[in-house]
Symmetry: none
Subunit: 363 residues, 2 copies
Amino acid sequence: MTQNLPARLDGSVRVVGAGLLGASIGLGLKRLGVDVILADASRAGLNLAIDYGAGRLAAEGDDPALIIVAVPPDATASVVAAELAAYPNATVTDVASVKVAPLAELEELGADLSRYVGSHPLAGRERGGAISARADLFVGRPWVVCPRPEVGRERVVLIEHLVLDLDATPVTLDVDAHDAAVALVSHAPQVVSSLMAKRLGAAPAGALGLAGQGVRDVTRIASSDPELWVQILAANSPAVVEILRAFRDDLDDVLRALGDVEASGARRVIAQELAAGNAGVAGLPGKHGQDRRYSSVVVMVDDTPGELGRLFSELGEIGVNIEDLRLEHSPEAQIGLAEIAVLPEAKARTMDDLSARGWRIAG
Amino acid sequence: MTQNLPARLDGSVRVVGAGLLGASIGLGLKRLGVDVILADASRAGLNLAIDYGAGRLAAEGDDPALIIVAVPPDATASVVAAELAAYPNATVTDVASVKVAPLAELEELGADLSRYVGSHPLAGRERGGAISARADLFVGRPWVVCPRPEVGRERVVLIEHLVLDLDATPVTLDVDAHDAAVALVSHAPQVVSSLMAKRLGAAPAGALGLAGQGVRDVTRIASSDPELWVQILAANSPAVVEILRAFRDDLDDVLRALGDVEASGARRVIAQELAAGNAGVAGLPGKHGQDRRYSSVVVMVDDTPGELGRLFSELGEIGVNIEDLRLEHSPEAQIGLAEIAVLPEAKARTMDDLSARGWRIAG
């Protein structure tokens, strides 16, 4: 267990920005015994994160060796510059989703770039804010670190220790490679998802009642914060435009083919695009859409008062720990499905014990 | 318990097409004691489904009252016509994802349409074939039934019994409304997902290692079978084209704005498209924390055994109906958050009563 390991980071760490990422970093480092100093332009947001256990208020004489700037992309460069100036010995990193634009802005600002190492944890949630923070937000996730020749190796190592302490995986990329990569695996998909979701707003009556998991998955990230995403997309626009233009050209090919499906070759065009999609998604590493840390047990629950309560009481009696839970409930249906995430070693026993108590297991 | 209810369907049911849907229907009906006759053009596929327990071989003298055609869209009309001709008393339905084109083809074929009721279960899995079949594939899912004036009510009721027996929810739509709805919630998202996934095939080295849940969700259905989807898209091309053209126009707006993000109004255009995506995805029913029909109450739950059970028992005592539920649980945190969706009019009372019982309300 990570909790019992000594932190690789010594001394105190200052986190500027107490939103989802900043508060999650604070929670994760405090778990390791690190002294975490929190700062945020919003006093209310700061107090919430401190109440949540993500760190303490700054105090006279604080001398953090490491500063993590976790503010929105548009504010990143100016806050990094201010922290570099205020703490002349500290190594400063940021966690913004774009890396080229903040670096260029820092150069314009004349900041001491020998102490700045940009980074980017590929982790997040649909909902932001400290209230959504989790110490394990970064577990098993890639965390890009962008070293540059003018930065001493020991400062880069410090950021890598931060990444490792939070159980994330350091990935070294230069800022251009980073921005091209996230344009493809994050920024362009965000636009595509949002534009598809926008179409749902024009749904004929009853159509959305037919929505299944497919359209829900395609449009899930369309619930992301527009204010944040305008900043991200604007800061990485050349790379995003390149991908979306190629996407648009393919879409035009499909539209032409669908416009006259009896034309020679029309079906072949559509099939080739779909097959290329097969190949593209097959290239994604790992298992799709599954959290490999947990196994899930799906239980059918009658839609009568108290049934969920009984299920949870009995899970308590069985003594199994519920790691996560998701309830599927179709308004007209007489039953719902409770998907319970448990540790893999507890799955068989959970299923057996629930079955023995008369619960119907759906998967 | 569904298993103990008598089947509403009497006599034997013939299922033509022993793939995922046909075999799942067979499994579901056999569980209810229905005599299921299976047929498939592929003898190997048929044997697999029979071995799997989805039904039996056809025999001399079979006289099914109900026939379900579960073959690919392009083959649907000709198989339905053949079944109508071979069994002159039977009611025939199909489960194809498109409903206008097969009906038009049946009219051309001169089939006895007074005994045909098209239908479409909104259920599926990424992997097809009898080996992926599940008796509970349709549980809680909408199943569209398309009655027409020339079909006797008793035949429509027969299809609705089929739907209810499989624990699905019958939804009545005419064929045009059905095809417009699935173009929006299924067919257009399939194209968008596939074309985004195609871009991943051109990923620079290392980029796919940064993929998170967002791009995985957006591209998950891109792993669908191209052969099947060419048939679906071609059969519903006018409705799909209408949606994809509107999508393309929005995409062009975003591309223009991203092409010059410093231009006056450029950021506003992008923000408006993203906000429209927020609104679109919020309209999807039954989604966690985003369903406008429900209000959410977030309760802090100590991470000790039995606490969740106590919460649910007390919700039962209060008498509030839980419409949806989501559990947030950070392994290191001493508390979890239970987000409970209730009817808006029940929110204030739920919060008051839970507070009075000592629960901490987080939002």
